[in-house]
């Protein structure tokens, strides 16, 4: 799937038919085409275990592709890995700092590893400590740091050589909102200065906040690309979840909602485990009318909630396509996606489904 055309432009990342199959036969990445122009804040969105980290590791030369071509900053990742390594910053999903060294020593080691000239090191270290707000903790061993501080230190060490391209693999997972916002600010700042950022995330909110453009990956394949707004538009509005007293009335409630004329034609009404769910641009304005209509029809409503689309909804919308029969919600859709693409992915499907479910209950 081509992501727009920039024929004359140098891409920070360019992959063609990228495939990676692990020795145990798991096809983690199955034919990914990516084109990330220089300066872009690019988001790679997907649930756990769909191939995000594998892809980013191939781009960072930690894994060799099974097939396909990978060019990073104009260098072939397989033929010239050292050139690629010199020109990228990489922040792994698990925070990577040496706990026995101080913040300053960690950054200094990175400076030396990336060959920052001796004369510039001290000023570079101070500059980075300031940027990630660790000046006061500069000479404390990283062991004593909180998770957020370690993450920020990790981010600083990935930037010592002012790489034109930075890979961030789920950089804010497990952080409290304050620490997360601080990191977001920081990523935006370096992006403003011209650094291309390739970020993976499972949170639509994060992608929405930061990214210029997104690619959604599912079962090792890119299923959609576009700006966050474009992707959310594909969901078709906001979502009204209605909980019902008993499951027998669900069918009746769905019929009420579908026949009500409250929502536009594109809106979808689906039964869920607890009741029903309406996806519509009018979900917020016509929600109460639906509740009244349900009461008039003798259906007991025990709870309701209007919310913005989440990653699950985007997945749902994307993988569901024009098939409106998605009755069991996310679970069935995921399975549909797997069977539609390739039967091999089935081993992973259950895992992916579990994550998606817990995501949904969050």
């Amino acid at each position: 799937m081509s992501v727009g055309s920039y024929p004359t432009h140098v891409h920070a990342v360019e992959t063609t038919d990228l495939e990676l199959t692990y020795a145990d036969g798991t096809e983690a990445v199955r034919g990914v085409d990516l084109r990330v122009p220089e300066g872009e804040f690019f988001g790679f969105l997907g649930a756990n275990g769909v191939g995000k980290t594998t892809t980013i590791k191939v781009l960072a030369t930690l894994l060799s592709p099974t097939a396909g071509r990978v060019e990073v900053n104009g260098f072939d990742a397989t033929a010239d890995p050292r050139k690629v390594r010199e020109s990228i910053g990489y922040m792994a999903q698990e925070t990577s700092v040496d706990p026995e060294l101080t913040a300053r020593e960690n950054i200094k080691f990175a400076c030396e590893a990336y060959g920052v000239p001796r004369g510039e090191r001290e000023s570079r270290i101070d500059e980075l400590l300031d940027l990630v707000d660790l000046v006061d903790a500069a000479d404390k061993e990283a062991e004593e740091f909180s998770g957020g501080m370690k993450k920020r230190l990790d981010a600083a060490t990935a930037l010592v050589h002012r790489p034109p391209l930075v890979f961030l693999d789920e950089p804010t997972t497990g952080l409290d909102p304050k620490a997360r916002n601080r990191l977001w600010d920081y990523f935006e700042r370096i992006n403003d200065r011209g650094t291309t950022i390739f970020l993976t995330t499972q949170y639509l909110e994060e992608a929405d906040q930061l990214c210029d453009r997104l690619a959604v990956i599912l079962e090792g394949e890119i299923v959609a690309t576009g700006s966050p707004d474009e992707l959310k538009r594909r969901v078709g509005g906001e979502i009204l979840d209605v909980d019902l007293g008993d499951s027998e009335s669900a069918e009746r409630a769905v019929a009420v909602a579908r026949d009500s004329d409250l929502f536009e034609d594109e809106a979808t009404v689906e039964p869920t485990e607890k009741g029903l769910s309406v996806t519509s641009r009018a979900a917020r304005t016509k929600g109460t009318d639906l509740l009244v209509a349900l009461r008039d029809a003798g259906v007991t409503v025990t709870g309701f909630n209007v919310r913005a689309p989440t990653l699950d909804d985007v997945f749902l919308a994307i993988t569901d396509g024009d098939d409106t029969a998605g009755a069991g919600g996310v679970v069935d859709t995921e399975t549909d996606g797997a069977t539609a693409s390739e039967a091999d992915g089935r081993g992973e499907t259950s895992g992916a489904t579990e994550t998606t479910e817990s995501e949904a209950s969050r």
Binding site: H9, A110, D192
Partner: protein
């Protein structure tokens, strides 16, 4: 630091991406590696591991304490009994302190080498291993630097043991050059165990397994060797095991230098004269062992750091 919310839009080509506001400073100018030398990369890693060793004096002390306890207690408890056993063959009488110090030097090398793999496992666990792999440093230089730091530590610790031994009354017959020789033998001896400990680390990727694995080996191996008593004073089955035990060769080599005499009885060589009749075959065995286990470790490390999927 201008307008953090305003993004450079990407659609439409961002043809000017390269010229995004660099106005304020040189901040978007990427750093070119100032040097690409193998030795430079070795040095960077050597420094990090030394720093870690100093930060963590606990490991340093612990790997010294046990051998020191052995040295003091063995000479005090078994001194009288052992002295008659080691002097049974006649010749100039030597003290048990003198006899034991080379063995303790080898024990120190063994204990220090054992911790090498633990450092590697910690690096794998805290992500530093991957961080180093994704950097442009030469990968062989990364491991050479780490090993060099461990060699330095082993040499210092053996030096401490020799000094302590002399204080307790041990006598190095070959003097200061001999002491340096024993340090060198200890370092040469340590390589096979460094390799073993790193191989275990890469295979198990687990700190406990690595520690348990190397410790399980250390003690039995020490006792079924010529470390504490001469071969002639040991039961037959231990004599057989000792012949195939690397520790015998390390201890015999160090002891030959300590006593300035041919002390090796597992392989009888008489072609070189004096202590060289022990040194030459013992060092040959150790070098061979280092090469074999070293190759295994290099292979395993290479596989662990390669980008080929597993």
């Amino acid at each position: 630091m201008s307008t953090p919310t305003e993004k450079t839009r990407a659609d439409g080509g961002t043809a000017d991406a390269a010229s995004v506001d660099t106005g304020s400073d040189t901040d978007s100018e990427p750093v070119r590696r100032s040097s690409n030398s193998f030795l430079g990369d070795v040095w960077v890693n050597f420094k990090r591991w030394n720093l870690k060793a100093v930060r963590n004096p606990f490991v340093l002390v612990v790997s010294l304490v046990q051998p020191i306890i052995f040295l003091v207690l063995f000479t005090q408890v078994f001194g009288n009994v052992a002295t008659s056993a080691i002097n049974r063959g006649g010749g100039a009488a030597i003290s048990y302190e003198t006899y034991l110090v080379p063995a303790i030097a080898i024990q120190v090398a063994l204990a220090a080498a054992a911790t090498s793999g633990v450092g590697l496992v910690n690096d794998i666990e805290n992500g530093m291993f991957e961080k180093v792999l994704v950097s442009p440093m030469n990968r062989a230089a990364v491991f050479v630097g780490k090993t060099a730091a461990e060699v330095l530590r082993i040499a210092l610790q053996i030096g401490i043991i020799l000094g302590l031994g002399v204080l307790l009354g041990a006598d190095i017959a070959t003097g200061v050059p001999g002491a340096l020789g024993i340090v060198a033998i200890g370092v040469l001896f340590s390589f096979w165990f460094v390799s073993l400990s790193n191989s275990l680390a890469v295979l198990t990727k687990d700190q406990e397994s690595t520690i348990v694995g190397v410790n399980l080996l250390q003690f039995p191996l020490l006792f079924v060797s010529t470390a504490f008593l001469p071969l002639s004073a040991l039961p037959d089955w231990i004599r057989v095991v000792a012949t195939y035990n690397p520790i015998t060769y390390g201890v015999d080599a160090a002891r030959a230098v300590m006593l300035d005499a041919d002390v090796m009885t597992v392989i009888e060589v008489s072609a070189f004269g004096g202590l060289w009749n022990t040194l030459v075959p013992a060092l040959a065995v150790l070098v061979a062992l280092d090469l074999v286990l070293g190759s295994v470790a290099v292979y395993l490390l290479g596989r662990a750091s390669s980008s080929n999927v597993q």
